[in-house]
Symmetry: C2
Subunit: 339 residues, 2 copies
């Protein structure tokens, strides 16, 4: 240890902080210490260290494989979460666990210090399981009653209200919602869609607007098929909220093939998606962008607050989606018939 400190030109305390991640160390200092350790053949053995400290400094972002498409936004928040963890001396890994026993295996091993849940369901059995196992955890998302939990989530309620406000301002009175479904079986109750549907129904009713609701699978072929369904079942509908980004490109293509123009015949506003996904179509979709980077960062901070005994961050917070205009919303072609 002394040799490492001498070679790296730092104090022994700094070497200890670096090795044990017990205090923040500047990247330059960390690099010097690590170079010295490597030169001297000094190897940390994290398994031994973990046994001594009962800590591994590994966090798992639980990935429920194949529940929903791994969206572009999820990649962004994984990347953001991983870099936030790294800054705080932790490693964040994406850990596939699609059933109870896989999650039990994860929590019973002692190999991770804490868990971040994503793709949260309204009644999420993982919450009870993690609570029972006394594993520190935080949610990127919310259950139906998250009052006792640490979470950061998209503010779906206000995002949907803002979306409807945008379309109502343009003069639309007949508006649909196309989502990707709430899941089936053990994965039912996908909270983002459940909340979006509820908020949509409430807000539309409160404004006295005509609401339609549609669901299709999360891929472009399903989006193409949905175009015909929309036009057949709701011919008077002039605007659509899209809560299914993978169906978007197919939807626009399908509408064009039916001779419908976006936005002249149907305005489309994409929810909780990204500028990049919105640019996949022609015209570009107007989008309320998911705050993915913010979600990843705050989720990790909440978890590390629990682990390190800090209490610096709001334990429950909601983040709005930001409006990024594209070219897919406009006033309806014909004024709605007066009543």
């Amino acid at each position: 240890m002394q040799d490492v400190a001498r070679l790296a030109n730092v104090s022994i305390a700094t070497v200890s902080f670096t090795v044990n991640n017990s205090k923040p160390v500047s990247p330059a200092t960390r690099a010097r210490v690590e170079a010295a350790m490597q030169e001297l053949g000094f190897r940390r053995n994290a398994v031994g260290r973990a046994l001594a400290s009962k800590r591994t400094h590994i966090l798992a972002l639980l990935y429920p494989a194949l529940q929903h498409r791994f969206r572009g936004t999820v990649v962004d928040f994984f990347t953001s979460a991983a870099s936030t963890a790294s800054e705080r001396g932790y490693n964040l890994v994406l850990w596939p666990a699609s059933n109870d026993s896989e999650l039990d295996e994860l929590t019973s091993t002692g190999l991770v210090d804490g868990v971040l849940l994503m793709e949260v369901q309204v009644d999420d059995p993982r919450v009870e399981q993690l609570t029972a196992s006394r594993t520190p955890f935080a949610l990127i998302g919310r259950t139906g009653d998250p009052s006792a939990l640490d979470y950061v989530d998209i503010d779906f309620e206000n995002t949907v209200a803002a979306a409807i406000e945008h379309l109502a301002q343009l003069g639309h009175t007949s508006i649909g919602l196309l989502d990707g479904g709430v899941g089936r079986g053990a994965l039912r109750g996908y909270a983002p869609v459940v909340r979006t549907r509820e908020s949509f129904a409430q807000e539309m009713a409160a404004r006295g607007l005509t609401a339609f609701s549609f669901t299709c699978d999360e891929n472009p072929a399903a989006g193409r098929e949905a175009a015909a369904t929309l036009m057949n079942e709701a011919p008077g509908m002039t605007a659509l909220l899209l809560m299914n980004e993978h169906a978007g490109p197919g939807l626009v293509t399908g509408l064009h093939r039916l001779g419908m123009s976006v936005p002249a015949d149907l305005s489309i506003l994409s929810l909780a998606s990204s500028r990049e996904m919105a640019a996949m179509t022609d015209p570009d979709l107007s989008v309320l962008s998911a705050p993915s980077i913010e979600l990843g960062r705050r989720g990790v901070e909440l978890l590390i607050d629990q682990l390190d005994g800090g209490n610096q961050h709001e334990r429950q917070s909601l983040v709005m989606c930001a409006f990024e205009p594209g070219n897919s919303t406009a006033p309806p072609r014909r004024a709605p018939p007066s009543e």
Copy 2:
């Protein structure tokens, strides 16, 4: 241990196999053993177990954050790799490591039994680093000289040849390649693009065809811009190989806006992409689909062969992309001028 065996109605040996993942156990048996362990409050402590056995049964799929877009195909092979690992009694996690010191941290901790590399570069410094650290590893991809390594990779050489054959059969003699670049700085030499460029140049020269080469960033906006570049710089080009799936939707949109029709004015054949990405555009792109599930499965098998001393699988193998016809290739509008 005896109590667990009695409650689960299995032998003590089976409990041991289940706990230590030392032999395959049927899912039903595993479930019974785990239920019994849980009921009896019997908890495996994997950290202790790891120290005893020097094994954690965790495999890391290294994720070099942000080098290239996290493609749909990568999601497929992560999912496939994770489920293959699970069948063999291992956990596969996606581990972000974007620089030498993060990789060094991973290998020096003893927390993973082995590493799978993805997004491999022609001269990949991680190979040397893993070799030096004596960490078992396998590649999904290939370096410039992979003769001493365990790998599975796409057969880019024959895939490119098949793509050119398809277009040549249709009568195209002037063909371009649009790729996403080979990376910069420490991430230069992205092997899939390097190999595709080389194979393209060789095959086109061997056939005496006119070749053009273009690069744009991996997003739809860059694809739109590329449309104009293509038409300006290679007005006589009638077909394009696309090795940049994220630029595809923008490229098609950009061509349409320039008054060009796909495939009448330009045939497009997408390489190493997927049916789903190909369905994002109108018309659907014809595609040579990446064998993602096969890559994920074989990569994990190679690594576990090293760990468990098995030798059941081909240590080096290449897998072709499969042709899936869309509507984006056709004979050129005008026959090429005779010479």
